[in-house]
């Protein structure tokens, strides 16, 4: 690896985002190149600062007491026992496995749909849009599907990610054309016998748009797994059925 190639990768390395092979190649170069090593120090400094962008949350007195007590006795205080899975949770896990690669607003969620709507409202109220999306993406059970441009937006691209555990999903779209006045993009979750709206969104000047998708009565009540996802152009506010051209779609599952 030469300096030019190394400098392409240094920032990603500082973020821990290089794959193992590229990281090894960069490390070999850094051992021999002081200039690039100095650039890495600056990149690590920048990456380290990103931690400070996390919303500040108080750990609380109980955590403080636990940490100080564990240091005082020289041993870690016992970590909390993991809760035993309930029968419905185990069933839900089975559903998640069966429908891997597809949105799993499974039947067990129906009983909790009211809680779910309240929870999603709180999530949306508590963080900016980008924070919501990252929160979904970093969930341990996050699932993802890529979407490709279609029709008048052949160069568009995007992805849909969702957390069955959190019961919320998010769409990210890029390269979508600007909308005429009175129009919006509408996302659809397509089942065997019907299309369920995931909500509407617009895009910025660069064609970038995002949508946080809440599980609603319609999708939660459908025990079957969706077949695919897409985005169409619709009147502002969206509609109950799709009428406009499709601009983004996932493969059929």
């Amino acid at each position: 690896m030469d300096c030019a190639a190394a400098r392409e990768d240094i920032d990603a390395y500082a973020l821990g985002a290089l794959d193992a092979e590229d990281a090894r190649a960069l490390e070999a170069h850094l051992r021999l190149c002081d200039d690039c090593a100095a650039l890495l120090d600056r990149a690590l400094d920048t990456a380290g600062a990103i931690a400070l962008s996390a919303p500040l949350v108080a750990g609380g007195g109980a955590l403080r007491a636990r940490v100080l007590a564990s240091a005082a006795v020289g041993e870690g205080a016992p970590r909390r026992p993991r809760s035993a899975p309930r029968w419905w949770a185990a069933a839900a896990a089975a559903l998640i496995v069966l429908s891997a690669g597809a949105l799993t607003w499974s039947a067990y969620l129906q009983r909790r749909v009211d809680d779910l709507e309240r929870a999603n409202d709180r999530v949306q109220a508590s963080a900016a849009a980008q924070d919501q999306l990252v929160e979904i993406a970093v969930q341990p059970d996050a699932e993802r599907v890529a979407m490709q441009g279609a029709g008048p937006a052949a160069n568009a691209s995007g992805g849909y990610l969702w957390s069955p555990g959190r019961e919320v999903g998010a769409l990210v779209a890029d390269g979508l054309p600007p909308l005429a006045e009175g129009q919006a993009y509408q996302m659809w979750i397509v089942y065997k016998d019907r299309w369920v709206s995931g909500g509407t969104f617009t895009v910025d000047a660069s064609g970038h748009g995002r949508l946080v998708v809440k599980a609603d009565e319609g999708s939660a009540a459908d025990a079957s797994a969706p077949l695919w996802f897409c985005v169409t152009v619709e009147p502002s506010g969206g509609g109950a059925t799709h009428t406009g051209p499709m601009v983004l779609r996932s493969p059929k599952t």
């Binding site: 990103i50 949350v57 108080a58 809760s83 949770a89 896990a93 999530v123």
Partner: protein, 197 residues
């Protein structure tokens, strides 16, 4: 002894002598920050508490792991917290896929914790630095900010980010590189301004 008046490296020196008061001062200074970073990564209050405990116990048991010549203590500490959190999240992910999604109680607890964000009682910790970093991130184009956040807080590789966003790998690499360059310029200009005051 006025521990609150001691610098971080001075407190760390005292940890080598098993000074519990110095440890308490460090926790009071950075405990909420470590917890916040962990919570941002793992998204679960109980797991974040476990990680916070592990991180500070590591500092208590192995203070020599911090090398003052390599930079600021808080940068090192939060890096340890972030890496430990990502390890725990990956471990949690494996358990979730083999066992079950989180219980209702755990979800409600986690969601409730989000209402505590920017708690006034803890908002003064490194307030200027935190504000500067958030400002530097806020001015990034959203696609660059998202790629950086997915890498740092999500622990995703560039290829995983590309898969997540449905974007070519080269596009994600460019977004990360440009976003980091802009952040670096903004943060270094701020520091230069401070040193010139």
């Amino acid at each position: 002894m006025d521990y609150e008046g001691l610098r971080d490296d001075e407190l760390m020196e005292r940890l080598s002598g098993r000074d519990l008061d110095a440890f308490r001062a460090l926790y009071d200074r950075y405990g909420d920050l470590v917890y916040s970073v962990s919570l941002r990564v793992v998204g679960d209050t109980h797991v974040a508490q476990d990680v916070t405990q592990d991180v500070f116990l590591r500092v208590w048991r192995r203070p020599e792991l911090f090398d003052v010549a390599r930079g600021k203590f808080v940068t090192w500490l939060l890096s340890v917290a972030r890496n430990r959190s990502i390890d725990e999240r990956r471990s949690q992910g494996r358990r979730l896929r083999h066992e079950a999604p989180p219980s209702t109680e755990e979800e409600e607890d986690t969601l409730a914790s989000r209402d505590e964000r920017d708690d006034p009682a803890v908002a003064t910790v490194l307030a200027d630095e935190r504000r500067a970093v958030r400002r530097a991130m806020d001015v990034l184009p959203p696609e660059q900010r998202l790629a950086i956040q997915l890498a740092y807080f999500g622990g995703l590789t560039q290829q995983e980010i590309a898969n997540t966003l449905g974007q070519p790998l080269g596009t994600v690499k460019t977004r990360i590189r440009l976003g980091m360059q802009k952040m670096r310029v903004a943060l270094e200009e701020r520091r230069a301004g401070e040193s010139g005051d």
